[in-house]
């Protein structure tokens, strides 16, 4: 596929500063290589033939901002992505969480909600859903709107169903949703304890204390400084002995909060690449 190469590095810096000055969104600490692709993609989707056109639209038309935020962020997600990760959650982490009188989960960067529904299914099957609350947040209001509807494209459901079984699920996955034409609607019982809200990891602060925080494949889009800041935010939001789950290629190594965490299930098991950390007392 031909990817357009419209935006030059100095133009990108200029645009990021404009956006930070004009609006409440600061992308200046985002990974540049990904951002460059997203900006070029926006130019292609919205038919801007030059950087000047894109910049003019963003700076002069505040109504365009929502569209920009929707497309500049990556919203690729799936249910039970990395089934091995969910298997570990199911078999080893949830039984411990279940000993708490109340389980608060934060899914930071929830995108269109597939992960929130996956966690809801795990909690349901473990018998802890009634005493749980799932906070699902994202910077992007558009995806939060979609997530809260619980309606997903039918296309990838077969893959999700396979992922579910690989994660140790034993029920008929189709019992969780109703199919209608090319979409599926998930059981409303699964979203009863979900709270969807916008939250910007760059600028918003801690809003509760959680036993489990999932933030998978979000930190890869941030530079090291911003990663440190966000990890501090998670640290402030995690109850002692709580769990922090990152994407399979993300790590706490060399971060400010590293000394207070230990990787589960320990270094010798790193083969599994399950990046789940436990907070110290």
């Amino acid at each position: 596929m031909i990817e357009p190469d419209i935006i030059k590095d100095d133009e990108m810096e200029m645009l990021l500063r404009d956006i930070a000055d004009l609006y409440d969104y600061d992308f200046t600490q985002y990974t540049r290589s990904s951002l460059r692709r997203r900006l070029n993609r926006i130019c292609m989707l919205d038919k801007f033939t030059s950087f000047a056109e894109l910049r003019y639209r963003i700076t002069k038309d505040p109504t365009y901002l929502a569209r920009f935020i929707e497309e500049v962020t990556v919203n690729v997600t799936e249910m039970f992505r990395d089934p091995g990760f969910y298997k570990t959650l199911r078999e080893h982490i949830l039984p411990t969480l279940g000993t708490h009188p109340f389980i608060r989960v934060w899914i930071a960067g929830c995108s269109t909600g597939e992960e929130a529904y996956s966690i809801a299914i795990l909690l349901k099957e473990a018998g802890f859903y009634h005493k749980s609350l799932i906070y699902a947040t994202d910077i992007n209001p558009g995806v939060i709107e979609k997530a809260s509807r619980g309606i997903f494209q039918a296309g990838p459901i077969k893959q999700y169903s396979e992922n579910y079984m690989l994660s140790g699920g034993t029920r008929d996955f189709s019992s969780y949703y109703i199919s209608r034409y090319d979409v599926v609607k998930f059981d409303e019982g699964l979203s009863e304890k979900m709270i969807f809200s916008t939250h910007n990891l760059v600028s918003d602060s801690s809003f509760n204390e959680f036993q489990l925080i999932l933030c998978r494949n979000v930190l890869i889009y941030f530079d090291k400084d911003l990663q440190g800041k966000v990890l501090k935010l998670f640290d402030d939001s995690l109850q002692s002995l709580g769990y922090l789950a990152l994407g399979s290629k993300e790590t706490l190594r060399h971060s400010v909060i590293e000394p207070r965490y230990k990787q589960w299930p320990g270094e010798n098991m790193e083969e599994n690449k399950l990046i789940i950390y436990t907070a110290a007392w």
């Binding site: 596929m1 031909i2 990817e3 190469d5 990974t31 540049r32 290589s33 990904s34 460059r36 692709r37 997203r38 990556v74 690729v76 089934p83 091995g84 494949n217 930190l219 890869i220 889009y221 530079d223 090291k224 994407g247 399979s248 290629k249 993300e250 790590t251 690449k273």
Partner: protein
Amino acid sequence: MVKKTSTEILMIGGSAGSISVLLKIIPNLRKDLSFPVIVVLHRKAHPESNLSDLLKAHSSLPVAEVEDKTLLRNGCIYLAPADYHLLLENKLMAALDSSEKVNYSRPSIDVSFQSAAVLFRQHTTALLLSGANADGMEGLLAIARYGGTVLVQDPLSAEFGYMPQQTLLNLEADAVLKPAEMAPFINRLNKKSNNNIVALLQFISVP
């Protein structure tokens, strides 16, 4: 032909039938390579396919699967992990991205090659191996546009010749190589050795 300049990064992309070729290249690379090598192969999304262990077993150079913000060192081989695109954040750092598949692939060879082309320009060298789909060709075209060096596996030597064949129909490769010729070619790209690639190309075309 444009005068080629020194190689600062080597990108290797491959799909079906490329692992056996890679296993012919890697054991024969010199230990003091003056640039990092980045390998992007199409593979299954599940990490059980332990490609990095396989490559490690055949390599005298360090092999690492790229994680978030991996620093690149000369003479090391970096493998794109399953289910992520590999991008170059700057000349010293690789980054990962889990955005949409490109050419039905993640990692996509085109995405990594284009990322290298923009950053390393004429100092990029890329090698496209055996494969049965089109991913890789646009990336090589981008590298050629920036004046980099493009190498393609001889389609007749490839288990799946479609990818190299299609590529050769659309661009003029700097060299078309059989598996056994690849490591010697790469070794001669080293900064410390005679780096005149034009002379090198003549060397290769001698029957």
